[in-house]
Symmetry: C2
Subunit: 312 residues, 2 copies
């Protein structure tokens, strides 16, 4: 006699491939605990065999039956849905969040450039004196009242800015406020990424910092794929264009990709970049493996080794 | 004797080109009322002549004098500043505002696409059922509480969306809220543009509607330049690429540029587009000339002629 189980239940077939016993699953939960039911059947019938391919083909005919069809369909659909549902892991949320940061940066940049041009009609002297967009927005906005700061305008007869009325300042003010809010959202998203990484990949976070680490995972596609990459790949992740140019035309090979934004590299003199990038990629590779297999936290140790080597 | 005036004052020179009388301007206001002072001098001295070029050259030597230098410099600087200040006209503000709308659209688009992708992890069924970004954002957001509507999520066991916890929904919610605010800002900017156009170019607004009209002015560079354009140029304003392709390669000439967004054209069947575009450009050209020279309001008449011709 043969034992066979699918999403519908556990079945016992005799040598002529007729069903002699069965336990039907009521719901997906039963299916997930199918081992229990198989055990139960095995205790009832002795000498049950697993069918081979030929025998399987003959048994499957039994299920070509309208009685099973709807049930079969529904349960498989439910199973598929459940699989999709549970496929949303923390690294997918992380990838969404880091992408949203990149897109917030784009949006902020577009709007901030417009704000500058517009505001400069009114008060060009201040705008020219503050280069950083974020600082500029914070300087000209009275956050409590939600108004543009008027005292910033230098003596009107000296300024070459136009004397705009309240109704013309209003839209400039709203735009400023909006950009300020976008910066606040960006900060909130970064702290969300940081919290996610604490649970998902504390070692990568310790070695690379939140943003660079999240971008590496985003570029690799998932934490799993990052953990499978050799350090040399991690080193140039994000520099694919330069890599293929190197392979095609023999131009210089890229020294670093995303990790160039790491503070250790960004602060170092240019001739050290390649060296630091190599070591950093090494440590990141180790950290990603530890994170993926949920090993002990060694991020502080890895980071210390890095800093001792390059920070004097 | 000669009379000569510059930014410093009004001067009377004798036949040997020595100064015999002068009135110095104290400030720019005096300069702006210089006609009064010239009159004063003319009443004092009879038979004053305007110098010719040769005589002027000899007179100017008098001002090559340190006594005048600082004053000359400062007053000219002030005058230049004043000119820049007063060069900010309503059409410059209009151009800034319409540009900001285009950039808001870009920013909204980038962020809304990200929101969709992110939100679909949680509730894909709703996102797929609403195509319009603005409607989508308004549907999923509880505007009073500033929360994502939970009741939208269909029966959790049927949905393939993941069951995200509050901490994972929070950044999605903030992003939704931000996009909602961007849409509100966009609406406010449009109503600002509309108000500006009521004062600056009511006729263009009546014929073209606020957005299309503002874009035409933006593309022309100013209301003045738009008013100087022939109707045929207005018709294809914004379709420069297609026009030059036509001139270079003999491809079809463009039938319309920016004005294709006008509701009359957008709603009409494709074979009428060229015809409507030509008439619309005609009326716009008339309207822009009336607006620039601040003539009477004939926008309603122009619009009515248009609609009678094409709306049945």
């Amino acid at each position: 006699m043969y034992i066979f189980s699918n999403i519908l239940g556990v079945f016992v077939f005799d040598e002529e491939f007729n069903v002699v016993d069965e336990i039907l699953f009521k719901n997906l939960e039963d299916y997930n605990n199918k081992d229990k039911f198989i055990e139960q059947i095995k205790n009832k019938h002795k000498n049950l065999k697993e069918p081979n391919n030929e025998e399987l083909k003959k048994m499957i005919i039994y299920f070509k039956n309208n009685r099973f069809f709807n049930d079969f369909c529904n349960k498989n659909l439910q199973l598929a849905k459940l699989d999709i549902k549970s496929s949303v892991k923390d690294d997918i949320l992380l990838i969404q969040a880091i992408n949203s940061i990149e897109e917030l940066d784009k949006a902020i940049n577009i709007l901030a450039k417009r704000l500058r041009e517009w505001y400069e009609l009114y008060n060009p002297e201040i705008s020219k004196s503050i280069e950083n967009h974020e600082k500029f927005v914070e300087e000209i906005l009275d956050k409590e009242k939600g108004e543009l700061l008027e005292k910033l305008k230098i003596n009107p007869s000296d300024s070459i800015g136009a004397d705009l009325g309240q109704e013309d300042l209003e839209p400039i003010k709203s735009l400023t406020h909006q950009i300020y809010d976008l910066y606040q959202l960006r900060k909130a998203q970064i702290s969300y990424i940081s919290t996610l990484m604490d649970g998902l990949c504390p070692n990568i976070k310790a070695v690379c910092d939140a943003i660079v680490g999240a971008k590496l995972i985003e570029h690799a596609g998932s934490l799993k794929r990052l953990s499978e990459m050799p350090a040399s790949t991690i080193q140039i992740l994000g520099a694919e264009k330069a890599l293929f140019r190197h392979m095609k035309t023999g131009a210089k090979s890229p020294k670093h990709g995303i990790i160039v934004n790491h503070p250790l590299i960004a602060k170092a003199p240019a001739n050290m970049h390649g060296k630091i990038a190599r070591t950093l990629a090494d440590k990141t590779s180790i950290a990603s493996k530890v994170d993926y297999f949920q090993g002990k936290f060694i991020g502080d140790k890895l980071r210390k080794e890095l800093e001792e080597k390059f920070v004097k």
